[in-house]
């Protein structure tokens, strides 16, 4: 390793010996007016920090998580106001663990809960249903006609006779399975929510509503006031259990999860502190690196808040990534400055030297990262586009904080002397094949025939194996319950309980039948709705279907004294009108006010992609065969309908996104290396990582979904950094005529630590997510960690091995002769070890020229 040459920039101990006018415009602007620059940065930070503190909101938005321009979703959004049954409601189940619902004490607790919910803000009281609601009635056909009453006896006083009456009424009302559990141990309160609070005119605050449910109901009745036990997420051991499902609760739990995830940020900061300290052994520079990176996060959040974006479970990824990318860039700056100071250069001059060497290279590296983010704009899902935009903002911010503020701050603060000397020592040791040198020697083995063949063979085997496994990759969510949360979360356990004890699942797939006003009462429309329902029921994944037809059939039979033979759709319009009028009282959710939209709702056993695809295929075929301009069958609403549409978009987006990200990275590499062979060397390890990532998803039961889409793009976009770091230096040496082995060893000695640092800091930034209560974040965390680390390993091992085959000595010499050397006016044999290797050619042509 004798080839590692010293910095070409002169060691200047005294500021007076330094030419203030040297360096490019930007450098002079920033460094010659350091105080002004620092004041500006502090002011901007304060303003943006204030913005972030006052304006930033946690707002998981349902609309943003769905693909807005997918035709099914557009159908849904156009008609959502008409779909009351699929609207926003919360289902609260009160379970008696020590008996059944025919327990006066239970009924009393149920009444208190009923009253509590009835008075809660945002509740659409008129449509609330429970055993205590006057709207919950029984009807019976008698000799005199229909007879009925409230299910809860009028003068209920808890006496045994009252209980007996209630028992009879529940049977007569036929609400076992809907409002009362099949095992009679629990009953349900259906609490529809208002779109806008009548008092405030604003949309309901899900977090507040969810907190209210926790505090006023769960803590009080399930945990006897023990808030701490309630917060544990375990179930209470008392007599009653409160189980809550519904969109509002899910959103509330997601926000709680987000707050928890924000705590992980502290973990990422601490991990970074440890990593940087281990890397530098210098307290003040470690703190400075982290401080600068935090500044970037403050800026990013401030700008995001200023532009009116909110933090959602996806965009919360951005601060983590920005922090990690910021740390790795800042650490490189510090590393450079440290070495200059170690050699004796004044700290200000060292800072300026580092700026000269690394600014362009840093910007280019950030551009490479931006490619990964930018590709995400192609996905027609607002959360992902928001993620792309906010991440781009973050990357832009990094130019100011990590590339400008960091060296300026270092020019004031400097680094510890011991640390600076240690940095020098490490490099010297490495050059003497000690310390890191041993590791570099080992990696260099991969440029030899035996090891290269082995590595490529193993990689090929892994690639083929991974590919075979990845063929089983599923689209969509694979577990039951709310896919956003973990399977064992309280919400999903409640959901499982409710699915198990009540008749209808929470996976609903609805086809909307749209007609002219009053059209849903049309005999033909009802017959077609019935046929559609029957077609859907043929699929084994469909538990049952519900539509206005069910109500019409039942009411028709009712008018014939309950004769089961008249459980039918009659052609008589008066009969149909009467049935619909009755249905508007008993089941208003089955059609809209002017009877122009009615959903046919299929309750699915699960929301696996195959089930959804097949159900969609059935519904779509029916819609195509039966839709007319006057009577349209529109897919799709309901949770499973939206998920089906999302799956369709995700499947499509997964392919286009991979295509575009690889296209972008290929262009980027071709432009940088000007060699298709080198481009192959850079890309093949990334392809292996992408394939293995998909295999990992299969192994871990993670499907391709909105949350995992960005992962591969980010993995490839950021992963190409490693190859750029390593390969550009290696090529540089090869083009100078050095052997592959020497070139690689030089490259790895210069950049191996940087590659390691970047890989580890990025992984450390996101690994904490694996413990997120939000399932898709955990999935993202695991996959990103894997990609960041595996890309690093792949780069260090496969680049030399592939180079052995693709960039053998003579060829690279020819390539070099063709391009770089002729282009460069500076045919120097020495290389600067601190130059960000990625764009050394640029640095030589640009920065170093300026310096002369």
């Amino acid at each position: 390793m004798a080839n590692i040459k010293q910095d070409t920039m002169p060691v200047i101990r005294d500021l007076r010996d330094f030419d203030q006018r040297s360096g490019n415009v930007l450098e002079r602007l920033v460094f010659n007016y350091r105080p002004l620059f620092v004041v500006c940065m502090v002011l901007v930070t304060l303003v943006l920090g204030y913005m972030a503190l006052t304006r930033l909101e946690l707002r998981p938005s349902f609309e943003k998580m769905i693909p807005q321009s997918q035709p099914y979703i557009q159908n849904f959004l156009e008609n959502r106001k008409s779909l009351r049954g699929l609207g926003n409601s919360v289902r609260v189940v009160v379970e008696n663990t020590q008996g059944d619902i025919f327990d006066p004490e239970y009924l009393d607790v149920l009444k208190q809960i009923n009253d509590e919910l009835f008075l809660a803000q945002g509740v659409d009281r008129a449509w609330m249903k429970s055993l205590w609601s006057p709207a919950v009635r029984w009807t019976e056909v008698t000799e005199e006609g229909f007879q009925g009453g409230t299910v809860m006896p009028d003068n209920y006083a808890g006496a045994p006779a009252d209980i007996e009456q209630l028992r009879q009424n529940i049977n007569r009302a036929g609400i076992v399975g809907s409002l009362v559990a099949k095992d009679l141990k629990s009953s349900m309160l259906i609490v529809p929510l208002l779109d806008q609070d009548s008092a405030t005119g604003r949309g309901i605050d899900y977090h507040q509503f969810s907190r209210m449910l926790e505090e006023k109901l769960r803590v009080k009745y399930e945990f006897a006031g023990d808030a701490k036990a309630a917060a544990s997420g375990e179930e209470g051991s008392g007599k009653y259990k409160i189980r809550v499902i519904g969109f509002a609760k899910l959103m509330g739990d997601l926000i709680d999860g987000l707050i928890q995830v924000m705590m992980f940020f502290a973990l990422a900061v601490v991990t970074s502190l440890v990593i940087i300290y281990l890397y530098t052994r210098c307290v003040r520079s470690t703190l400075l690196v982290v401080f600068c990176s935090l500044t970037a996060v403050v800026w990013q959040l401030g700008i995001v808040a200023w532009l009116g974006y909110a933090i959602d479970p996806y965009s919360i990824l951005v601060p983590f990534l920005i922090f990690a990318i910021g740390v790795s860039h800042a650490a490189q700056k510090m590393n450079g400055i440290m070495q200059d100071i170690g050699r004796g250069t004044h700290k200000l001059i060292a800072a300026r030297y580092t700026f000269r060497r690394l600014f362009v290279a840093g910007v280019t590296a950030l551009l490479a990262d931006a490619v990964g983010f930018a590709v995400l704009m192609l996905i027609d899902i607002p959360v992902i586009q928001d993620l792309a935009i906010t991440a781009s903002i973050g990357v832009a911010v990094l130019i100011f904080t990590s590339l400008l503020l960091m060296p300026v701050a270092l020019s004031y603060i400097g680094v510890g002397r011991k640390a600076a000397e240690r940095a020098m020592r490490i490099d010297t040791n490495a050059a003497d094949h000690r310390g890191f040198g041993k590791l570099w020697d080992m990696l260099d083995l991969f440029t030899t025939r035996k090891w290269a063949t082995g590595a490529v063979l193993v990689a090929t085997l892994m690639g083929v194996g991974g590919f075979l496994v990845s063929l089983n990759l599923k689209i969509g969510d694979l577990d039951s319950g709310a896919p956003e949360l973990r399977e064992d979360s309280r919400y999903n356990r409640d959901n499982a309980y409710i699915t198990g004890h009540y008749a209808l699942s929470s996976d609903t797939f609805a086809v909307m039948i749209k007609t002219a006003p009053e059209g849903c009462l049309n005999y033909q429309t009802l017959v077609l709705a019935d046929r559609l329902a029957w077609e859907l029921q043929q699929h084994p994944g469909v538990q049952t279907t519900v539509s206005l037809v069910n109500a019409v059939r039942q009411i028709t039979a009712g008018t014939f004294e309950g004769n089961p033979k008249m459980n039918s759709i009659q052609r008589n319009q008066d009969m149909l009108n009467y049935a619909a009028q009755q249905a508007s009282v008993n089941a208003p959710e089955l059609f809209n006010t002017d009877c122009s939209v009615m959903p046919v709702i299929a309750f699915l056993k699960d929301h696996k992609a195959e089930t959804l695809d097949e159900v969609v295929a059935i519904a779509d075929k029916f819609a195509q065969e039966n839709s007319t301009p006057e009577r349209q069958f529109l897919l799709a609403a309901g949770s499973a309908g939206i998920e089906a549409a999302t799956n369709i978009v995700v499947r499509e987006a997964n392919r286009t996104m991979l295509l575009f990200v690889y296209l972008a990275v290929t262009v980027f590499c071709l432009f940088t290396f000007r060699s298709w062979r080198a481009t192959l060397v850079a890309l093949l390890p990334l392809v292996l990582t992408s394939v293995l990532c998909e295999a990992l998803m299969v192994a871990m039961g993670i499907g391709v979904k909105v949350a995992t889409l960005p992962v591969i793009a980010l993995g490839v976009g950021i992963g190409v950094d490693y190859a750029l770091y390593l390969l550009s230096v290696q090529l540089h040496y090869q083009r100078k005529g050095m052997s592959l082995s020497d070139s690689y060893e030089n490259a790895v000695a210069f950049t191996g630590r940087v590659v390691g640092l970047v890989g580890i800091t990025l992984a450390a930034g996101v690994v904490g997510w694996a413990w997120s209560p939000i399932k898709f974040q955990a999935d993202m965390g695991i996959l990103l960690t894997f990609m960041f680390l595996w890309n690093m390993l792949g780069a260090l091992i496969l680049i030399p091995a592939l180079s052995y085959f693709l960039l053998p000595d003579k060829r690279s010499g020819a390539v070099a002769a063709k391009q770089v050397e002729t282009a460069s006016t500076q045919a120097q044999a020495q290389v600067n070890p601190q130059i960000h290797p990625k764009f050394e050619a640029c640095a030589e042509g640009g920065l170093l020229k300026n310096q002369r």
């Binding site: 056909v141 008698t142 000799e143 033909q524 017959v527 077609l528 019935d530 029957w534 029921q537 043929q538 014939f560 004294e561 309950g562 004769n563 089961p564 033979k565 008249m566 459980n567 039918s568 009659q570 052609r571 008589n572 195509q624 065969e625 039966n626 839709s627 007319t628 301009p629 009577r631």
Partner: protein
């Protein structure tokens, strides 16, 4: 640019063509009377309304034109070929091969292969015309009789209402002679195995045109049960269905029994027994508040009744009353048939089930 335009036009053309084609294909609504029933594995678990014996075979009918038959006591069922997808309400086989099924929309189906395949003899779109023509002919023959004018008007009403004519029950004495009954006193009969059907509205003691819910024979006698306490019995001398004194003003869902013991059952657990062919009645306590919707006599001569909630009631044998028979799970019963010595086959909202006899 030119080629771009051409491409765009071509694309537009294709899009228009396909959407036009889509419209042409779509939306051609096919009526339930013209749309054959679809085979479905779910049919056996879906709403069925009646079941009958065709020799050793069981034949069940239900919603959406489903007709199922079983040759092994209800274990396995095949779905028959049926030319309509209207809801079917009743089935009867006077001989092992010849059978009839009736349903909503006035549909009458006939099978001559023990229920494996069916053809349509009549539907609601023709009934009005038949009734009208029948009574117009009678009115023309007997212009002085003003009652015929009423029946002509009634026939006109049936024509105007179109296919909306639920037939609720069918009964055949043999392969030629049978009756189908339905709502608003609709009654048709045939003397030629369904080749031609004629109305019989003028031969019922039913001045209020009450619904006729069921028709069945007990011994040698033929009874019709209807709403608001209507009970009719075929009077061969008068050649009409004559009213019986009724002990109850609610709806009857049917009559069942054996010579010397006649039971009428109906709304809210009401069951009455007559030992004299319906001339006098005694109430039988069932203790149930739910409607009794089906009844049968088993191979040993015990009488069974079934409720809309699924209760099974067995006659105590002395004619005094009924006892509820315990079952594992209740499912509504709309129709019942005897099957061999050991079981009854029940059908209802949730399809087929069997009840073993001890």
């Amino acid at each position: 640019m030119g080629s771009f335009k051409k491409c765009a036009l071509l694309a537009l053309g294709i899009a228009l063509g396909s959407s036009l084609q889509g419209i042409a294909q779509a939306g051609s609504y096919v009526d339930v009377l013209d749309l054959p029933a679809k085979p479905s594995a779910l049919a056996v678990r879906s709403p069925l309304r009646d079941v009958a014996q065709a020799g050793q075979r069981l034949v069940a009918v239900g919603q959406r034109g489903h007709i199922l038959y079983s040759d092994n006591g209800g274990k396995d069922w095949q779905q028959a070929r049926v030319p309509v997808s209207a809801d079917l309400n009743s089935v009867h086989f006077p001989t092992p091969q010849q059978g009839w099924a009736v349903g909503n929309d006035g549909v009458i189906l006939h099978s001559s292969d023990a229920g494996a395949s069916w053809n349509k003899q009549l539907d609601g779109r023709q009934i009005g015309e038949r009734v009208l023509a029948h009574y117009q002919a009678l009115a023309a023959a007997e212009p002085a009789n003003e009652t015929w004018a009423q029946y002509v008007a009634e026939g006109q009403r049936l024509v105007d209402e179109g296919a909306d004519k639920p037939l609720l029950d069918v009964w055949f004495a043999d392969a030629r002679r049978g009756y189908a009954v339905g709502v608003f006193n609709l009654i048709l009969h045939t003397e030629d195995g369904g080749q031609s059907w004629a109305p019989l509205q003028d031969r019922t003691d039913n001045p209020q045109s009450l619904h006729l819910n069921a028709i069945s024979a007990v011994g040698e006698e033929l009874y019709i049960a209807g709403e608001q306490g209507l009970l009719l019995k075929w009077d061969a001398a008068q050649q009409r269905f004559a009213a019986l004194p009724t002990p109850y003003q609610g709806t009857w869902f049917g009559v069942v029994g054996k010579p010397g013991e006649l039971l009428a059952y109906g709304l809210r657990g009401h069951v009455f027994r007559s030992g004299d062919g319906g001339q006098s009645w005694n109430q039988v306590e069932t203790g149930l508040p739910v409607s009794i919707t089906a009844g049968a006599v088993d191979a040993r001569g015990d009488i069974w009744l079934f409720s809309l909630a699924g209760h099974a009631l067995r006659g105590t044998g002395d004619g005094a009353g009924f006892a509820v028979v315990a079952q594992e799970a209740l499912a509504p019963v709309a129709g019942v048939a005897q099957d061999g010595a050991n079981q009854l086959v029940l059908v209802g909202e949730r399809g087929v089930r069997t009840l073993a006899l001890q």
